[in-house]
Symmetry: C2
């Protein structure tokens, strides 16, 4: 399998297990993809899961789940803490391996077109797939939520210019893979964690693609990070930067944590940089070869 | 796929492409495994390839290739530079993922039993599968080669106590995965590479499972290593050790190379150690999840 994308569709149902399972099972009806990590939350009244596989297959799988969600979820009756505009609320495509961001943008547009035309749902493209700068940020697209968009809605990228009577609207797009990475410091002074987080986060002029916060974890300072662009700043670079900042303050790094999933490419890049192994490629990883 | 083993059968044919292909194709007739990296050498008059997959499937695949090799290769007519005792010469099983060395030893014995009983070929177990200490080392088992063993042969572990009239005998066993790792030094003084190799190799009291030589590569010193037990000494540890020794001599590391294939587990261990990410597991690698 040369090209691998990930898709993480979010649906506005977090209570009714029958509905959740029906949506999850619909995605699984495409046998060639892996559908996993189903999460649902009753107070958010929302569920999400992960589909990975070849681009066309992932598209087919997520479309099956959107069809069922459109049938089974009635936004007129939906209440939940989490912002949402539709039965299928947001659908990001993420390049994992052998796939460019452009290809994921094309996938988002392809899905948007059929959801708009076949299911008659207004589709807004966001992040890397956005057709307008004001639609890049998901929070901006969702402003006003389902109820607000019923009253006033900008022209969507695909589909009708008014909300679907029960399914509302949907945001579809493409974004980079997000790696959650934490560094635990050997100090009980939580402020040190917060200070280092503040220094290394992109927003304050730190490392590109790094979002960082300082936390108290079991009485010790933790720098908790989301790496939203591992090609620009990979976890190994972040580790070195945090270690350096900590050393300046006389503090040692206790441990680090990769939280959740990480693409193989990110490990390979860490090995290349850390051990100056410039020629190393993910194709040299035995398990990858096995499934080509 | 939870359990993955690798098998690298070596056959005594390196010239006749029809025979080589027939053996290779026989292994491929078991569809659930990956058969790859066919290499053959006319002056050695020998070929080898790699089979990876689930243990039982790999065993079935290699057995198919041994059957064909037994039919097509006549050791009475075989000449070649490389030491050999049979048509199928040596068959190591290597644990890759989710498989213990004990399971590979069992696989070796299972294959040995059917090769001995069904194909009437004497089978010697070697390395981790050896039943006698004097058979651990492959070179010792092959002493005297095909011609010598026809005259005088110790009792095999399976099969008849005399050579098969055309296929000779075979060595089957289990060993650890071997990682080829080189470190290139920023010096033209080749002796420094040789000195560092000498210091870090296991034989001279250095790192366990490390074989090392110093070479001249494009006019610069290289420490060229085989890591025969990555669980004891992984490539990241070797890199740090060579860097330290080089620094003592005022020399910098230019680059490193992982040569050929490496198991994912080895990358994961390097990440765990280097970034103090003790909780990190190969199950967190997205591509691995995809194929479970």
């Amino acid at each position: 399998m040369d090209k691998i994308v990930e898709c993480i569709p979010n649906f506005s149902e977090g209570k009714d297990k029958k509905v959740i399972d029906a949506i999850f099972d619909a995605a699984k009806s495409v046998k060639s993809v892996k559908v996993m990590d189903l999460e649902f939350n009753a107070s958010h009244n929302r569920c999400l899961f992960t589909i990975i596989g070849e681009p066309g297959e992932v598209l087919a799988s997520v479309y099956e789940s959107i069809k069922i969600a459109t049938k089974l979820i009635d936004m007129e009756k939906h209440k939940g803490e989490h912002p949402r505009i539709g039965a299928t609320d947001v659908v990001p495509f993420v390049p994992v391996s052998g796939v460019s961001m452009e290809e994921c943008v094309e996938l988002a547009k392809k899905l948007g077109k059929i959801v708009g035309e076949e299911l008659k749902i207004p589709v807004f493209l966001y992040e890397e797939a956005a057709s307008r700068p004001e639609n890049r940020n998901l929070a901006d697209v969702r402003k006003g939520e389902y109820e607000g968009l019923k009253v006033k809605m900008n022209k969507p990228d695909f589909g009708p210019s008014k909300m679907h009577s029960t399914a509302g609207a949907v945001v579809i797009g493409a974004r980079k893979y997000l790696v959650a990475f934490n560094v635990n410091l050997d100090t009980k002074d939580i402020k040190i964690g917060k200070d280092i987080a503040s220094k290394i986060r992109e927003k304050n002029g730190g490392l590109p693609g790094v979002k960082a916060l300082g936390f108290d974890v079991d009485g010790f300072a933790q720098v908790s990070m989301n790496l939203v662009d591992s090609e620009k700043t990979n976890f190994d670079e972040v580790f070195r930067a945090v270690t350096l900042e900590a050393e300046k303050l006389g503090v040692k790094v206790k441990s680090s944590e990769i939280y959740g999933m990480i693409p193989l490419e990110s490990l390979v890049r860490a090995v290349k940089t850390t051990f100056k192994a410039e020629t190393f490629k993910s194709d040299q990883v035995l398990e990858k070869k096995l499934y080509e």
